[in-house]
Amino acid sequence: MASKTPFAKRLVFLVPLALYTALFAEVYLRILLPQPMMPRYVTDGGDGIRGNLPNARYRHITPEVDVELRINGQGIRADHNLAIPKPEGLTRIAILGDSFFMGYEADLEDSFAGQIESQLAARGVPAEVVNLSVSGFGTAESLVALESRGLTFEPDLVVLEWHSTDPMDNLRSGLFGLDQHGVLRRDNQTYLPAIATRERLMRIPGYAFLIQHSHLYAALRERAGRFVKNLMVMRMPWQRAPEPAPKRFEKAAASEPSPDVSALDRALVRRVQQVAKGAGADFVLFDVPLTFSRTEFATSLQLLDSGFVETLPVLSPLARFRAEASPDNKLYLEEGAGHWSPRGNEIAAELVTDYVLSGRLAPPPE
């Protein structure tokens, strides 16, 4: 029998119900499952890829950290604009990567970039880090960023992050592909995922407050983002490597990139190296290890062909992480997005510092 309650009356009931549901969910999350509040302030960088929103100031708040991120007018995480041209006698280190290199969940002085600067300063080397990293970047976007943004800063050293998310990000961006000879080619000029949507949302009153303070928004955004990312990857050619039959009670192993995807990654890394060297800068590939627990790590470089890796200058904090790891020592944060802790950043920075001090930097062009 059809309900006799008019639709308008039911609608009136639905609106407070929806509001109550949202309030319930917000309280539920705050009490039981506080979300890492890590808003991303990214925008169209003007060169077809994302960039950090210039002059933005925002906080990352998780159960472990409460830090501020300040972006300068050039879209770089720094407290001042970097001089162009490069001042005489200054060593510039361009770092290209994602949220790890950008220093998420860390204050500037505790971040990877900040630690490099302070460690070199303590050793008497005036140095400046040009942090071209943007959360979510893969190698493809790093390459574009170096070419369009980074070279103007005349870096002496280019440090390219290699992370386990890079193969998927490179594929998902669609910026580059390989021709039939395996040569890298630019397939698309833009990759601005959700930027237009975000900018429309930012015009809504209260939205900025939501992204900074609402745990419900953070949780839904995180899940929606993961869902969309998975959908995008499902549309890409992605062949699973044969998986060993899992033992009882074990989850199935994660899939590995197909040979085609690995070739793209190799070509991108090689191109970044070539661009750096072409501009007279040294180049080093930096491994961000995977972590399974406070004492278990593995290199992300396993996702690149080992023969290829041997042809590159590589820095990896893996050995130092393993040496220093203990159940009481957090090198990776655990209640946010799993970035390096201040000590993890410090160890990673030491590698770059040692590399710079070893004199392996290419001499500046005459």
Binding site: T21, F24, A25, Y28, L29, L32, F249, E250, K251, A252
Partner: protein, 531 residues
């Protein structure tokens, strides 16, 4: 496909739409159920549909024969035709690699028709009935033996011979994957044939409905192991999708989803590392690991059962309750009346009672209990830890019987005050829970070495009793325990409709929020899919 995945949501949305369109057209609806169930199963591995079809074809004929009827040519041809065509369709896309399977199907079909013909020629009714029931049991147990137990027994034989000094014995082990649900549907079809033989169920004369009963997708891969007298008649009654059934069905499904994705899957992340390396854990960690696993396996299995019941109810079917607050049990016999009820009642009705049950004296009763539980353990998997678990369960059943605990509880209950009865219940339940935990330690250990290490560590208090995992475990089980105490107090499982409106709203929001926000990012398969 798993119930908690987007793939199943899409599948069920399409299936439900078509199901609604076929309302009032029973045979068409049953055909849809059969097709949908085969698609559901084929999502795992279409090749193993062949086994379900083989079991169905065999038991369709065996059921008719076991009732005393002679098989008609039409029935035999229908069954053989269904076997060949039904097997051909899933194997065709994988030709020529699957040509071996096809040859096997043809061989099986020829054998089945010959065996059916031979059975038909037996004049004496009782001998003919026994022939067909034997055929059913042999085929189904044969399927189990090959696909589930062959490698286990082969490897065990080689190991035993080596212990006895007979070296260099090599035995071919088969490269066979365990087909999902094999232990469930083979037991379901065996119970059908036996019930027909006993005269408790009329044999199905309609292959379509019988095949749908065997393959009914909500309970195909992880039970409950349905009885024909309960489920089969529902395929012959007109079903209507009704709002009240949708409401309660969805409630059941969501509650099952909560138990699986929020409780079980999160506890899995705590349990797995503890059982992977028990030698490096404190005593406290190992104890917490048992507690976590107890609720992981309960949440996983009872969650699946609830989801299965919920889906079935939406479609107008009622399938049996499989879990009834088992951790509130005071004795082992009570535990087995509440845990995996469909299997324990199957073992009781088709193993324990035919062996003599408790009717042939005390010693035979204990023997029958031990044998039943040993085989019940082995049903769970081809591993000595499962056999040992079965022996353990049989052992505590026997011990409680020797001590006369059940009888003593009944006597005590007659004269005691309600407070005293409650205190006794709490004490007995606590003891029983500890015994269950120790059993789960045996069940969960990958092998005897892990079991040994776990047991040694659990009682090696010099390792320390501290653990930082207890709060996480309590976090995930507290809401479940709260609801279960409510259910236990009210004496009913489906208490949701009885709650006041505002409480219902908040409970529903809590459960839904937990499912949305607390389930792990990586999907975890059901434990009982391994059985």
């Amino acid at each position: 496909m798993l119930f908690q995945t987007p793939t199943f949501v899409v599948f069920f949305a399409i299936f439900a739409g078509l199901y609604l369109l076929t309302q009032g057209r029973l045979r068409l609806q049953n055909a849809l159920i059969l097709l949908g169930s085969y698609i559901f199963y084929a999502a795992w591995d279409e090749r193993f549909l062949v086994l379900i079809i083989a079991s169905t074809a065999t038991d369709f004929l065996a059921g008719l024969g076991a009732s005393g009827r002679r098989l008609s040519q039409q029935e035999t041809l229908q069954s053989i035709g269904y076997l060949i065509i039904g097997s051909l369709l899933p194997l065709l896309p994988t030709l020529p690699e699957s040509v071996g399977y096809l040859a096997g199907v043809v061989f099986f079909a020829v054998s089945l028709s010959v065996l059916a013909h031979l059975g038909n020629r037996i004049d004496e009714d009782e001998r003919r009935r026994r022939y067909f029931i034997t055929l059913s049991v042999c085929v189904n147990l044969g399927i189990l033996a090959v696909f589930k137990y062959f490698n286990f027994f082969a490897d065990s034989l080689v190991a035993t011979l080596a212990e006895l000094g007979v070296e260099n014995v090599s035995w071919t082990t088969l490269e066979i994957v365990l087909p999902v649900g094999i232990s469930f549907y083979t037991f379901q079809t065996i119970s059908y044939s036996i019930d027909v033989h006993r005269g408790e169920v009329e044999p199905s004369e309609h292959l379509l409905e019988f095949a749908a009963f065997v393959a009914f997708f909500p309970q195909l891969v992880a039970g409950p192991v349905e009885r024909a007298k309960q489920l089969l008649p529902q395929f012959f009654k007109t079903r209507r999708v009704e709002w009240s059934a949708i409401e309660t069905g969805v409630t059941l499904f969501v509650w099952g989803l909560f138990k699986k994705t929020v409780v079980a899957d999160n506890l899995a992340a705590i349990v797995d590392p503890i059982f992977a390396a028990p030698s490096s854990m404190t005593s406290g960690d190992l104890a917490v690991g048992l507690l976590a696993f107890a609720f992981q396996i309960y949440g996983d299995f009872s969650g699946y059962s609830d989801m299965a019941r919920g889906i079935a109810r939406i479609l107008g079917f009622e399938i049996m309750l499989n879990f009834n607050l088992p951790y509130f049990s005071r004795t082992p016999s009570e535990f087995w009346e509440r845990w995996h009820i469909s299997l324990s009642s199957w073992l009781r009705d088709y193993l324990y009672i035919p062996l003599g049950g408790n009717r042939k004296g005390v010693a035979m009763t204990y023997r029958n209990l031990m044998l039943t539980m040993l085989l019940g353990g082995l049903w769970h998997g081809a591993s000595w830890t499962f056999v040992l678990w079965g022996a353990y369960q049989g052992g505590i059943l026997v011990l409680y019987r020797i001590a006369g605990v059940d009888a003593w509880i009944r006597r005590f209950g007659k004269d005691a005050t309600p407070a005293a009865r409650r205190a006794l219940d709490v004490a007995l339940t606590s003891v029983m829970f500890v015994l269950v935990l120790l059993g789960w330690m045996i069940f969960r250990a990958d092998d005897l070495d892990v079991l040994g290490a776990y047991l040694a560590g659990l009682f090696d208090f010099s390792r320390g009793l501290t653990t930082d995992r207890l709060s996480d475990v309590l976090f995930y089980i507290a809401p479940l325990l709260f609801i279960q105490v409510l259910q236990h107090t009210k004496g009913r499982l489906e208490i949701f409709p009885e709650l006041p409106g505002f409480a219902r709203l908040n409970l529903a929001l809590f459960v839904l929020a937990s499912i949305i926000f607390m389930q792990p990012s990586q999907t975890v398969a059901f434990i009982y899919f391994d059985f």
